[in-house]
């Protein structure tokens, strides 16, 4: 049990943990990073993906480790997450060094100023204890750290103190055509270029995007940002990382955290000690660990005097539409997603139903269309197949959406009382229900989809009304002004323990309408600055 010691112990090595660790290590501080999952070389993931028969299963190249499982569904379903309540919360994450941004589309949106105060403005959800202006300097720095491209000629609604680090690559032909037609039809839709952490010029030792069009599940060249970038930097600056170290208990003494216990893959327990502890293990594993860390002084887990740990679980329930446009668009050239429709991110309607962002997919539809044709009833000759494949893949168009679900204490994650993983650690159990606030918005989104399909001369319009997960796991160690109803304060410090902090999506009081990674990064950098100021 004798273990290592460091001034700062960071639990989790995704984008949040890596940014905190790198900032601290670069300032000469002693940092120990504990990561539950293994190291995964990029080339192995690339080769796994290229070997896959089913290229649409994006989690298949990331096999779940026996000692640190992550949720998998479909062909590789592993029954890790236990579901209670009416809706399944099938959002996924990756337990590996570098975390879930191995697998993302690199969308790097800032919140709108109004997203921070929907309670005051619209009477729903919660206000953040900080304003947009408080976070803006760290948004700017996060964009620099991650290497974000964004349009210099479009106002995305989030005031900026400086330009984007990079200009975007030219839009794909598909998105040029679609956004032009949609904006002409209704300028209020505002189809804009999406900011993304992807290189349009050599940046930070990483190359230019060359359009492999498989950002998800893996960028094969590193042109797209992944959390591993800052893990590597942190280690180069002197941080120590132990991988395959599954932390299952935080040890407290009085109101301070003094140690963390982890299991190695053989099931042997180890203990590390430190002065400051930063939890950065995403919106499911972070609260699970806190709730598992019960002791005489913390009978319901650490940081949980408010009973809010694990509650207010949020994501972006999404719906979709597919159709065949009246012109060849050839989706699939360049990155997987370059534009979004942002006209419904904010407005008085948010008092009544959810704000949202609509995304156009630029993922190559060739495999999907080929499957449909081969599965079809009429037998096809090879030349017919080729011709139809070309014709249909060229016109296939797909949109999806993010709806803002509100923080509700009854949507929660808890350690299962009956199910354990291979390490003997309780599995997460999730209770989740999608309410009318989202469903009403989704009905409006459906009308919008139909209108988009009309504008694009779409045929064979097919709606996906079932809410899909979008892996933006938020709210479960919620940030607030008051210890009675919040887990962390405006500095991401737990109300109950002066040396326990949370980095990552779980502190976010609302999920907003956009991808959350840039906000995670900004909050992590801000937290690191707080830690340095106090050290």
């Amino acid at each position: 049990m004798a273990g290592r010691e460091a001034e700062f112990v960071v639990i989790g090595s995704g984008v949040a943990g890596a940014l905190v660790a790198n900032t601290l290590a670069s300032a000469g501080r002693s940092v120990l990073i504990l990561e539950a999952g293994p190291r995964i070389p990029r080339w192995q993931t690339v080769e796994r993906f290229r070997n896959q028969a089913d290229k649409m299963d994006w989690m298949a190249p990331y096999p779940s480790s026996p000692w640190a499982p992550h949720p998998q569904y479909g062909a590789f379903a592993n029954d890790y997450v236990q579901f209670k309540g009416p809706d399944r919360f099938e959002s996924q994450y990756i337990r590996a060094v570098g975390g879930t941004t191995w697998h993302w589309a690199a969308c790097c949106w800032r919140y709108l100023p109004n997203d921070f105060k929907i309670r005051s403005l619209y009477g729903v959800g919660r206000d953040w204890p900080i304003d947009y202006e408080d976070l803006e300097p760290w948004y700017q720095r996060a964009e620099q750290e991650l290497g974000v491209w964004g349009p210099s000629d479009q106002d995305l609604g989030s005031p900026r103190s400086g330009p984007y680090p990079m200009e975007p690559l030219p839009l794909s032909y598909s998105e040029q055509r679609t956004s032009a037609r949609m904006n002409r039809h209704n300028p209020a839709w505002r189809v804009v270029t999406e900011p993304a952490a992807r290189n349009s010029r050599p940046f930070d030792g990483r190359p230019i995007c060359c359009g492999n069009n498989n950002c998800m599940p893996i960028c094969p060249t590193g042109a797209m940002y992944n959390g591993i970038v800052h893990v590597d930097k942190a280690e180069a600056s002197g941080a120590e990382l132990i991988h395959s170290a599954v932390v299952n208990k935080l040890i407290s003494q009085g109101d301070r955290i003094v140690g963390a216990e982890y299991k190695d893959p053989a099931g042997v327990s180890h203990r590390v000690s430190g002065k400051q502890f930063i939890l950065a293990a995403n919106g499911i594993e972070t609260p699970k660990l806190m709730l598992l860390s019960r002791s005489r002084h913390n009978p319901t887990g650490v940081g949980n005097s408010s009973d809010m740990v694990g509650r207010n679980l949020m994501d972006h329930p999404g719906t979709g539409v597919r159709f065949y446009a009246d012109e060849p668009l050839w989706a699939g050239r360049g990155p997987q997603e370059m534009t979004s429709l942002v006209g419904y991110r904010d407005g008085a309607f948010r008092a009544d139903y959810a704000g949202k962002k609509i995304n156009q997919s630029n993922i190559s539809p060739v495999e999907r269309v080929a499957r449909q044709l081969i599965r079809g009833e009429a037998p096809l000759t090879a030349p017919e197949l080729t011709e139809q494949l070309r014709e249909r893949a060229a016109r296939f168009t797909e949109f999806s959406s993010f709806h803002e679900i509100l923080p509700q204490p009854q949507n929660r994650i808890r350690p299962s009382t009956s199910e354990k993983d291979a390490s003997g650690i309780p599995k997460p159990e999730i209770t989740y229900a999608i309410d009318d606030y989202v469903k009403k918005s989704a009905a409006h989104t459906r009308q919008l989809y139909a209108e988009i399909a009309r504008v694009m001369g779409g045929t064979e319009v097919e709606f996906s009304d079932r809410f899909a997960p979008n892996n933006h796991i938020t709210g479960t160690t919620i940030m607030g002004d008051r210890a009675e109803d919040s887990v962390v304060d405006r500095d991401c410090r737990t109300f109950d323990h002066p040396n326990l902090f949370v980095a990552g999506s779980s502190v976010m009081p609302t999920v907003g309408t956009v991808n959350v990674t840039l906000t995670i990064a900004a909050l992590a950098l801000r937290l690191a600055d707080t830690l340095l100021r106090e050290a």
Partner: protein, 439 residues
Amino acid sequence: MNMKWRFLALFATLALLLAAGFALTQEVWDEAAAVEVNTELNRPELIEKGRYLALLGDCKACHTAPGGSPYAGGRAMQIPRLGTLYTSNITPDINTGIGAWQLEEFERALRHGIGRDGRNLYPAMPYDAYARVTAEDMRALYAYFLFGVAPVHEAPPDNKIRRALSARWPLAVWNFLFVPDEIFEPDPQQSAAWNRGAYLVQGLAHCGECHTPRGIAFQLKAYDETQKGFLGGGPVLDGWQAYNITPDRDNGIGLWSEEQLTRYLKSGHVNQLAQAGGPMAEAIENSFSQMHDNDIAAIVTYLRSVPPVGGRQKVPRQRRGTPATDVVIKRGNLIRRDAEPHNLEATSDGARLYLGLCASCHGVDGTGSKDGYYPSLVHNSTVGAEREHNLRQAILEGIHRKTGSEIKMMPGFARELDEQQLRRLLDYLRKQFATAAED
């Protein structure tokens, strides 16, 4: 107690006085020194000429630290067996640079490798090449460095030299034995272009420093085309090896067209032939890409004329290799790590590493992209070279080359590969892309 305080006060006063006095004398000395330098050379046209000559000599490359101010020195140079040298500040700062140097002192350093204090400079400074520079060009260089460069007050770190080797007198012996110090004499039998090219190649451009073989005392074996081995390929320096650039067809660059050689020097990139990396990328970025076209043409003229230096190669390095087909076998088969989940030692072979690490840009068959942005590894003069040094360095460090507004880069893979994997990958690349195709 009282006594102790009084002493302290006394000391403090003395220290203050000394500091003030030092600052004062320093100032007086600075002014005096400033007067002594050859201010009559402070003429715009001479400074401009010197600026271009400094570019030809690529002084900036060594005398600038990564991310540092131009010419302020401080770049670390690892010298095998000796230790680490830090290049000097050659801005006209009076204290830390060369602002107090007279023309004669400047010229003595450049031509003979003797510093202002009379000590021998380490021959990491190519003074043996700069000895060729005409007196007129020396004056222009002096004018530029004294009056055309902004002074930077910044002392480079002290050299870290093994104590046993720190004496400088052996360098004087070395110089006496090996280093010629004749100013370049034009050959009236040759064209003006040839003479200009010879002057640049032997002198400021100091090509031979890397491209000419060295002897047992690390001295250059040849200083011009009349001596055996000139530009016939150099030793490994900092992991990189400079190639034979004589007109030998199989061992040099005899099969490169003049147009290709010109394009290479101006951009560092010739599709289906060569891409500059490491120190040559640096030379192209800082120096060759900014030279006047007629100087490049002169260099090409001269390089085409030097005696070919032969070697063991029967097929030139840019004519080796065949497209790879391993993807046919590998695709659909598990990587070894997954095929043998309980074998923690299991590592993939070179072909698999190539597919996972390199093929996304260079193609599964290694032929790169049509426009050459991603170079072909087949018929590639770096991959196909006799020895693997530069290929290894390119993989580990990557490539970064900026010419004009264009940046070419390849990421380095040092963090992605352990020694065994690097060995397997190199062996695969050499077997596939550095072996001559069967006739």
